[in-house]
């Protein structure tokens, strides 16, 4: 009985991730076609990009406060897109509604900070976060295919390092 329930839960979860990916793709493309997050206000395939949209938002804030002139991706009368704010709000609504919101502390705060810094810098070099890399592939960009393969290779390298470290830790415990 419990096994059947468990299997049902897994199948439901499997549908959920396909729906989530599909809806995100639909929204990303529709934002360009219907809402104006595309030419002539922004580059094509700009419907979703966590790094670029975050950059637009933070640079707009810094420009407004500090009077600086930092660069944008979207130039809609100097107004940034609010996707990132929406994602944080949506995830917060969801996590509080389902009672999953909980403050969790961190063991090594420096690593998280450095990783965030490095990921944003790399994303701006590529011109896409992982989501926009896939969106650019959907739009037919060959360079984005190279970019996504490079992301995957980076993940494989990192996963190999984690695997070696884990094995070493186990060996240390045994001996």
């Amino acid at each position: 009985m419990t096994e059947q329930k468990e299997r049902k839960r897994i199948i439901k979860h499997s549908y959920l991730i396909i729906i989530a990916g599909l809806v995100t793709g639909l929204i990303a493309a529709l934002l360009q076609i219907t809402a104006g997050v595309g030419p002539p206000n922004a580059p094509v395939a700009y419907g979703i990009c966590i790094a670029c949209h975050g950059r637009d938002l933070i640079n707009w804030i810094v420009n407004a406060i500090g009077g600086t002139n930092l660069g944008y991706g979207t130039l809609v009368a100097g107004v940034p897109v609010l996707t990132v704010v929406g994602i944080v709000a949506g995830a917060f609504i969801s996590s509080t509604k389902n009672k999953e919101f909980k403050f969790r502390t961190t063991k090594n705060p420096g690593v998280s900070f450095v990783c965030g810094f490095a990921v944003m810098a790399s994303a701006l070099i590529l011109g896409a976060c992982p989501l926009r890399a896939v969106l650019r592939v959907a739009y037919g960009d060959a360079i984005a295919v190279v970019g996504f393969i490079a992301i995957s290779v980076g993940v494989v390298i990192s996963a190999a390092v984690i695997k070696v470290n884990a094995r070493r830790a186990i060996n240390r415990e045994v001996t």
Binding site: C129, A133, V153
Partner: protein, 162 residues
């Protein structure tokens, strides 16, 4: 110059789109680098379905739009051959040789892949985890946004080589 209606439509639609994406990402634990990572580490394909479904959804919308309305640049590789879609601030000058764009894509991609796994997920997943109260993800976002300002203000003007 954009009209007020365009500005309002962009602000409202991106906010609503973001809320839907954030809600679904929190429910499904969607992560775009997590799929490859889980497959390499434990041969689990569960998270790989998200980027695949994303790709299919976006392609379908673009294809339908190109049939019913004008999508002059889709598919990109037919109209613009191998040039990248603009958006990378370093490669703003599109007239440079193609291998420069490929090198930038490889450097950026490797950087994202390596550091995203050490952080525990792609930028989307980190935003969702920060909204769930994870302090390490909040620190990640702090570094993420500081990097955006530092990159555009100090790094970009000094390495505009292409």
């Amino acid at each position: 110059m954009a009209t007020t209606e365009v500005v309002v439509s962009i602000l409202v639609s991106t906010l609503i789109g973001g809320i839907i994406i954030g809600y679904l990402s929190q429910r499904s634990r969607m992560c775009f680098v997590g799929g490859v990572r889980d497959y390499v580490l434990v041969k689990d394909t569960h998270l790989l379905k998200a980027p695949l479904a994303f790709l299919i959804g976006a392609v379908v919308v673009f294809a339908i739009a190109s049939l019913v309305a004008s999508m002059p640049t889709w598919p990109w590789f037919i109209t613009k051959s191998l040039m990248p879609i603009p958006g990378a601030p370093l490669a703003a000058n599109a007239a440079v040789p193609i291998y420069n764009h490929i090198i930038l894509a490889i450097i950026g991609g490797l950087g994202i892949g390596i550091f995203a796994v050490f952080a525990g997920g792609c930028p989307l997943r980190q935003h969702v985890m920060a909204s769930e109260g994870d302090k390490s993800s909040m620190l990640y976002l702090l570094g993420f946004y500081i990097a955006a300002v530092v990159f555009m203000a100090f790094i970009l003007p000094n390495i505009q080589i292409f």
